[in-house]
């Protein structure tokens, strides 16, 4: 790729001048998707003009004549396959039928997922179960942390349940063992420990939020007074904890009310995607941006950030700063507001005007503004944000403080340091590692693995036989949350019980069961443990009242009234004195600073073996299956680095090698590295993917560190990014030069305006050409007398989180194809989230556009199918009939939206039995040689229609919810009946901002978009 490769002048790295020239010469065509597009590389052209650019014959090296022979032979054989008789099938009824189960009808159970990627706070779920088999995760509308929505990781968690690589059995010294043998081993050891009051006994877990586990922890420490409990999470919240200590003198849990905030300033916080309550915050934030009409008001978001985030993409003003510069910005902002005395001057990268405008906006919105500190910023930033919020009178309005969600909040880096030094000193001889993988994820300077081997007895509980399990004497498989009981807290403290959907598939044990065994109470089920704990907590001590509470809580998925009450939490008086004097500074002088971030999909590495998450394109880079060292275009040019170059990264003697990726919008002289890759023992999918950024990470700079040195190795590495796959042609038939000369805006795939422009011209999203072409067709029209389905996508609301992509994959049995096939553009997702940029390379605006089948009324795909495998339904769907499809691929060739996907190979797994469990029984599992695409979840439409017909009534609006719509945290997708003018979707489509994609082709799409409106501050030249 010449955009990132050799730029022709002999020097490597992107040729920025050329890119900028092209950007300037684009005339009115303001939106661009990737650097390859700006450079107009041959590979980009190939992807633009062909649905599937790589000719498989070329790839496999099979000559054309042989291809024809094979085709003839397979056609003949395919005919024969139709002659098989249906195989004999068995029907196996129950002996005694369980209550409520009706074969053929799914049941939904409320449960909760403890979400490590959400700071440990839970997401409440309703899980669909088919004959005891959980198949699909939905959000629980009653749960405050979900409100009915989910995120991509929660959606994908059901796949992990069926992961064939999960650890199946208890392992002792590398050999298969069992739980009984483990208990036999444990009993005498614990007797010994009791005599010496638990000396030398240690526990290492992740943050303990489960109240029942917290109680066990306290009981254990009382039972073994000399024992110690340590907590460590690689992407933990130490900074937030320490920041609260600084500002309030105690740890707090911060609850934001984004729906009450008019002005929001994010100090490197990705609050729409990460941290406790992200799903709810996305809903609240967007609720203040939904525009009913020109008179509607909008909130305004300022984001200062070190790496492009989904929150930054929604910003009205975004300022890229290196991670270490954010503290200086915060200090300067606090000083400008008079909250703190002026400290060291902010970096020269902060435009003074920007800072002043932000300060003024905050000042004029006292009580309705909000400053949010980033999870990965140092404690000082958190303390400053707390101080600013307190001074602006936001406390109690847009932000509230409650008790910590954690049972025993500690500084985890210090906790871990204490454990490691005890291990090094030989003071530890019995260590329980509960649900964590420290050998992989602990900062490199702790040398955890070497010290771990000093411990005589090492017991590991984890879902996989991972890097840590390998080094332990005993490994106990950990039960998945869908197969064990437990309890959780939501972002506001609300308790939700984890209710299993299935008995453990393997020999899994929950942490509660392991700890009970250590207490000498083996044999108690996790159900008893949770229930008994909550019985002690329940106010009414009588059995009947508790039973009612327990049943109701399980049914609803939330324990009513358990949210923490907000507490008035004043900022300590001497905060300025408590803040560190010297703010962290970048080394400057062209040296590189590194910023570590958990990966957006596999997080800290724990989801590395989940194919759905691996293949979900990461925001901005759109990488799949890999992580990379991210450089800004200017830095890449200065260093002569191109995307795909393999670099040797050195940070204070620690070394790793990583491929580079050039990403617009990053701050200069900084490199972003995502944690979570380079796993050795994740499983078949995760092993060896990407590089291990933990190898560079030290306890002194968990999230940012100066002094990174890079050295090209001379090798290159192919990264599977999807940004230039399935590109909608924005030029049309006009040649590029021609349209540029005419200042032609091209086709308005993305339409956007500022709030001011929208108020002046509410119909800015309408284009004239559309009026002329609509209605003309050679074919007779359709009547659509009954229902007429349509979908509205609000680009204003889409935060690009990807929950819809994974939800669709789970609902529609969409296969994972692997990195090699993604490189060929063969990823199978039925819905994709296209990212568009506008503006300069350094800090472009970002626009998200989810694209699925448009269900055109004049569908280009239908006319060209020689076998009638894609046909129009009386309700307006373009139906895909898999059993008719012979794989000519004419339809996908003719689809201007590039939403059709072809099974080039047998992508669905037809051989791994454990994966059969996750399949939706209401959707055909497609085989090789078959085309597929979005059906508007036709199985859900039919199921709802059948139910309504049985009750002799018409469908009600909102009765059918597509999988993407259901998962969306911000309600950006709305499905419904267009023949009903009062339906939500009809009302949305009647709005002025409504427009269709490529309407000049007269396809008359049923999926339409609501144009994006941004709310920049006129003072900053929005």
């Amino acid at each position: 790729m010449t955009a990132n490769g050799n730029n022709g002048t002999g020097k490597r790295g992107p040729d920025l001048d050329a890119l900028r020239r092209r950007l300037a010469a684009r005339g009115g065509r303001q939106y661009w998707q990737c650097l390859e597009e700006l450079a107009d590389t041959p590979e980009y052209r190939d992807f633009l003009h062909h649905e599937f650019p790589h000719d498989p014959a070329k790839e496999t090296g099979v000559p054309r004549r042989d291809v024809l022979k094979y085709m003839a032979a397979s056609a003949a054989l395919a005919g024969l396959s139709a002659c098989t008789k249906l195989p004999e099938e068995k029907i196996v009824p129950y002996v005694t039928p369980p209550e409520q189960v009706i074969p053929g009808k799914p049941l939904f159970y409320a449960t909760a997922m403890p979400a490590p990627h959400g700071g440990g706070a839970a997401v409440g779920l309703l899980v669909e179960s088919h004959l005891g088999r959980p198949t699909k995760i939905e959000g629980n509308p009653q749960h405050p942390g979900s409100l009915g929505a989910t995120d991509a990781i929660a959606q994908a968690s059901v796949l992990t349940l069926y992961d064939p690589d999960r650890s199946p059995v208890v392992v002792r010294e590398g050999r298969m063992s069992n739980w009984t043998a483990f208990l036999r081993f444990l009993t005498p050891i614990l007797e010994d420990r009791k005599r010496i009051r638990g000396a030398g006994m240690r526990f290492l877990s992740e943050s303990v939020i489960s109240p029942a586990m917290g109680a066990q922890m306290r009981e254990l420490l009382a039972m073994y007074p000399e024992a110690k409990w340590h907590q460590w999470e690689p992407a933990g919240r130490d900074a937030a904890r320490e920041g609260a200590q600084l500002a309030f003198g105690r740890d707090v849990n911060t609850v934001y009310h984004l729906d009450k905030a008019d002005v929001i300033v994010s100090l490197d916080a990705d609050f729409l995607r990460q941290g406790p309550g992200a799903i709810r915050y996305a809903r609240e934030f967007i609720s203040r941006r939904k525009l009913d009409g020109p008179e509607s008001k909008m909130n305004r978001l300022y984001v200062v950030e070190a790496a492009p985030s989904n929150t930054g993409a929604m910003a009205d003003h975004r300022l890229p700063l290196r991670a270490t510069e954010v503290a200086g910005f915060g200090r300067a902002l606090a000083a400008a507001l008079g909250v703190l005395p002026g400290g060291p001057a902010a970096s020269k990268n902060v435009p003074q005007k920007w800072l002043q405008v932000v300060a003024r906006e905050l000042d004029s919105h006292r009580g309705s503004s909000l400053v949010i500190p980033g999870e990965y910023q140092p404690p000082a930033v958190h303390a400053m944000a707390h101080a600013i919020n307190a001074a602006l009178g936001n406390s109690g309005k847009t932000v509230e403080y409650t008790d910590s969600l954690e049972v025993d909040p500690v500084n985890q880096a210090e906790s871990l340091r204490a454990l490691v030094s005890d291990m090094a000193a030989g003071k530890v001889d019995l260590l329980f590692l509960i649900g964590c993988n420290p050998v992989y994820s602990v900062p490199a300077d702790f040398e955890f693995k070497a010290h771990l081997l000093n411990v005589r007895v090492r017991v590991h509980l984890g879902p996989y036989h991972d890097e840590t399990a390998e080094q332990c004497n005993w490994h106990i498989p950990e039960a998945h949350y869908l197969e064990s009981w437990g309890d959780t807290r939501a972002y506001d403290g609300t308790v939700a019980f984890i209710q299993p959907l299935i008995a453990p598939i393997y020999e899994g044990k929950s942490p509660l069961e392991l700890l009970a065994a250590v207490q000498g109470k083996a044999g108690q089920t996790s159900h008893d443990l949770v229930r008994n704990y909550w019985k002690t907590q329940h106010v009414a001590k009588d059995e009947k009242a508790f039973e009612a509470f327990w049943e109701t809580s399980l049914h609803d998925g939330v324990a009513a009234g358990t949210a923490f009450p907000p507490k008035v939490t004043p900022v300590v008086a001497n905060l300025p004195a408590r803040l560190p004097v010297a703010l962290p500074t970048s080394s400057g002088g062209g040296a590189l600073e590194v910023a570590f971030r958990p990966d957006p999909t596999v997080f800290d590495g724990r989801y590395a073996n989940n194919g759905w998450l691996q293949e979900l394109p990461k925001p901005f880079s759109t990488l799949t299956w890999d992580n990379a060292a991210m450089f800004s275009p200017a830095t890449a040019e200065r260093l002569g680095v191109s995307s795909g170059d393999v670099l040797r990264l050195t940070l204070a003697e620690r070394v790793t090698t990583a491929p580079a990726w050039v990403l617009p919008g990053l701050p200069d002289d900084a490199v972003t590295l995502h944690l979570g890759y380079g796993r050795r023992r994740a499983g078949r999918l995760g092993n060896g993917q990407g590089f291990d950024a933990y190898a560079l990470r030290a306890s002194a700079g968990l999230w940012a560190a100066p002094g990174l040195k890079i050295q090209p190795t001379g090798e290159t590495y192919r990264l599977a990014a999807t940004q230039h796959h399935h590109i909608v042609d924005r030029e049309g038939h006009r040649a590029e030069e021609e349209s540029a000369a005419a200042n032609d805006p091209g086709r308005g795939i993305v339409r956007a305006a500022t709030l001011e422009e929208f108020r002046k011209n509410p119909a800015f999203a309408k284009e004239e050409e559309e009026e002329k072409t609509s209605g003309l067709s050679l074919y007779p029209g359709f009547a659509y007398t009954g229902y007429s389905w349509g979908l509205s996508v609000d680009m204003q609301s889409c935060v690009g989180c990807g929950a819809c992509v994974v939800a669709c994959q789970a609902e529609n049995n969409i296969p994972v194809v692997g990195k090699h096939e993604v490189l060929a553009g063969r990823e199978m997702h039925w819905i994709r989230v296209d990212t568009y940029y506008r503006g300069e390379l350094e800090n472009p605006e970002t626009y998200y556009q989810p694209v699925m089948c448009m269900q055109c009324e004049n569908a280009p795909c239908e006319g060209v199918c020689p076998v009638g495998a894609t046909v129009h339904s009386p309700e307006g769907l373009n139906e895909m009939v898999y059993n008719r499809c012979v794989g000519t691929r004419y339809c996908s060739n003719n689809c201007p939206y590039k939403v059709r996907r072809f099974n080039f190979l047998l992508f669905s797994d037809w051989t791994t039995p454990s994966l059969f469990g996750v399949r939706n029984p209401n959707v055909t599992v497609r085989s090789r040689g078959v085309m597929e695409k979005c059906t508007y979840c036709v199985q859900r439409i039919q199921a709802a229609k059948i139910e309504s017909e049985k009750q002799d009534r018409k469908l009600r609006d909102g009765e059918i919810v597509t999988a993407c719509q259901q998962a969306c945290p911000t309600e950006a997708i709305v499905f419904g009946n267009l023949n009903d003018p009062s339906s939500r979707v009809s009302r949305l489509k009647a709005r002025e901002r409504n427009y269709g994609l490529l309407e000049d082709l007269n396809t008359r799409p049923r999926t339409t978009y609501l144009a994006r409106v941004r709310n920049p501050n006129p003072e900053l030249g929005g």
Binding site: I91, P93, V925
Partner: protein, 216 residues
Amino acid sequence: MAQIFHRSTNTVARVSIYGSLVALLALSFALYGLSASPYYTDVNQPKDQPVPFSHRHHAGELGIDCRYCHTSVEESSFAGIPPTQTCMTCHSQIWTNSAMLEPVRASYRSGRSLEWIRVNALPDFVYFNHSIHVHKGIGCTTCHGPIAEMPLTWKANTLQMSWCLGCHRAPEKFVRPRDQVFNPNYQPPADQAVLGAQLVKEYQIQSLTNCSTCHR
């Protein structure tokens, strides 16, 4: 120069050309015949079951309602195969020593399911829903044939797509009053054309023939 081919070659050529056309046609007919034959469709082929359950006895002679065993037929896509417990409601009292019923008792004792051989099977890409058909006035015997006369159950119809479409295109020919749906001895009246048209209107039966009605 002598002719290369003997004159008879012409005949051979003609015969083989026309012959092969005829052969191809014959083969097509044969294949079509095969696909419609009971050998391929299993129609009218009683299947051996672990217990020789007789619908003739239970549904015909004893008059047990279909829904006593097929409990979910009005609620679910799947009509339901009775759990062993359902058999034992009667057979813990009567025929308790019958050797024929030993597999049922063994199943109840051991908790291991009986494994019945499926008689009416559809391919996996077909999504048939019992409850809606029953609700719209399609009787059991319309598809399952004279079930009350079957000592061992057999498939009464091919269940091929053309057969499904026969009814989906003209439901008025097959629909019956709702109260007759579970009557295994129902005979359509002479004025089915009149009654059918009336019921189609009353039950709001649509003639659904688009693909996603059955294929998803």
